[in-house]
Symmetry: C2
């Protein structure tokens, strides 16, 4: 699993930083989390292929998290997309998109499926290789976090070894499931001879925008990486609370309580040019912390 | 009058070119013509001050001409704007903006006045120093061009000369109107001694997106500069017609028929990387042609 940051600033673009958007790549599938203004350009800039995007998740209806969506939806159609696109967002987004398309007489060249987020959360996507869940966070208006989880694809095939034992490709799925192979002459090829431990499943939690809250802690316990907003530094905690945001220190506290392996900070207020203080303040509580940088990919 | 190009590409951003937006600066006032996605960033990049913008004109409801507007409207509020903002656009835009603001519980910190464009055109803004008119163009959906006209501010004061004749500042307006000054001792200071010819009024026509059409020719006769879309080259004229766009040749033909002084080309299809052929094709018909470049300001 790989997280690529396309925008890590809060509402006002500043210091070359863009509004929120990021991709999570899982086995070739590109999930888009939020879609601030300019996301289609950021995707071009950082080599994120639109055609591999089939699921877009919008956390909430503040514009810095979705104003890039209408343009992306249009561009996909102009480029001749035919594959369905799924959008998961609060109910308010659907009528806006509808009006935008209608007022331009636009008929998209692909099916757009809108999935309304509401209530206490649950599973949004279930595929053979990954799943996505959503959960409520606390941001003054309806707002959700997302949990992306890869599944193990079973044991890992060792192609050279399989060749050595003359195992045909069509038996690889059985090998992945852990079964031995019985050769035509009755010889048993032990699974462990031709496979290795498969990749560990990974879990990534995306929590922005939100006040410091423990309400979703059980769901994200032990995640490999958590992206948590840190709009403000500790000294501006009063602003963070007033505006339903968090500080770097609070993000670190949550990562610690969640027993996360890695904390990625983002959604920085445009009042800060220098971001190193975010790392410093968070690291006091949670050492394995990274200040996200646009265009950089973080592997889990 | 100065035109600064913020985006000169058609719908799909490509080759570093952005969707349509440009500013027209007249006596310190910044008029924004169209507002494609990323306009607020382009304005930052090219030093166009948001606080000097009081009028935004949207030609039509294709997203590449207004998807940057919601973000700009929000950002102005976040930056504490209190001055009213006027938006002139087809009727379809107002309910979209309303829904966007409502779904985010946003109350703008400044008054936003929406002016619906419809019918055969007319005057939108009348100020002591400039005016803006709109007129229908032909683009499949309701679409308008704009005509910006500066007014002469009368004769130009020569401060050194006025000092020499001891003329107090409070009499400058009379001098601008062409009147002589009568000194306290009865001496008559001739207007021509202390003023010079004022700046010529200038006229700028903005015509995008549109088929080649003569319908607005009378209105733009003799303009100092015309910005006319040239989405396609001559060899793609069939595409231009099918999609309600123009070729470089047609733009030049229109500039010639309008007796314009200068033609500025823009709204290039993303299929073209090199733009020099646009200039070449247009120059055969209308020599004083310029291929617009983002970030460049063109003086009238």
């Amino acid at each position: 699993m790989r997280v690529t940051i396309l925008g890590n600033n809060s509402a006002l673009p500043a210091f070359g930083r863009h509004p929120t958007a990021q991709t999570v790549t899982v086995y070739g599938e590109v999930l888009l989390l939020d879609c601030g203004e300019g996301t289609q350009l950021q995707m071009q800039r950082y080599g994120q292929k639109w055609k591999n995007v089939h699921h877009i998740f919008i956390s909430h209806m503040h514009g810095d998290h979705y104003f890039g969506l209408p343009g992306l939806v249009n561009s996909m159609s102009l480029l001749g997309r035919t594959a369905p696109l799924n959008i998961y967002a609060p109910a308010g987004l659907e009528p806006i998109l509808d009006l935008i398309l209608r007022s331009a007489n636009t008929e998209l060249k692909y099916p757009l499926h809108f999935h309304r987020l509401s209530g206490e959360g649950g599973r949004l996507v279930e595929s053979p290789t990954f799943s996505v869940d959503f959960f409520p966070v606390e941001h003054g208006i309806e707002c959700y976090g997302f949990l992306v989880e890869t599944k193990t694809r079973g044991r890992r095939i060792l192609p050279e070894k399989c060749k050595e034992y003359n195992i045909p490709v069509e038996h690889f799925e059985e090998l992945k499931d852990g079964n031995d192979f019985v050769a035509p002459d009755g010889a048993i090829i032990k699974n462990a001879w031709v496979t290795a431990e498969g990749p560990e499943p990974k879990r990534y939690a995306y929590c922005t925008d939100t006040l410091f809250t423990e309400r979703f802690l059980p769901l994200i316990q032990g995640v490999d990486m958590i992206y948590h907003e840190s709009t403000y530094l500790e000294e501006d905690e009063d602003k963070a609370i007033a505006r339903f945001h968090s500080t770097a220190t609070q993000a670190a506290e949550l990562a610690r309580m969640a027993n996360a392996k890695h904390l990625l900070l983002g959604h920085f207020s445009s009042k800060y040019k220098e971001l190193e203080p975010f790392r410093e303040q968070a690291a006091r509580i949670f050492p394995n912390v990274t200040v996200s940088v646009e265009g950089v990919a973080y592997d889990l």
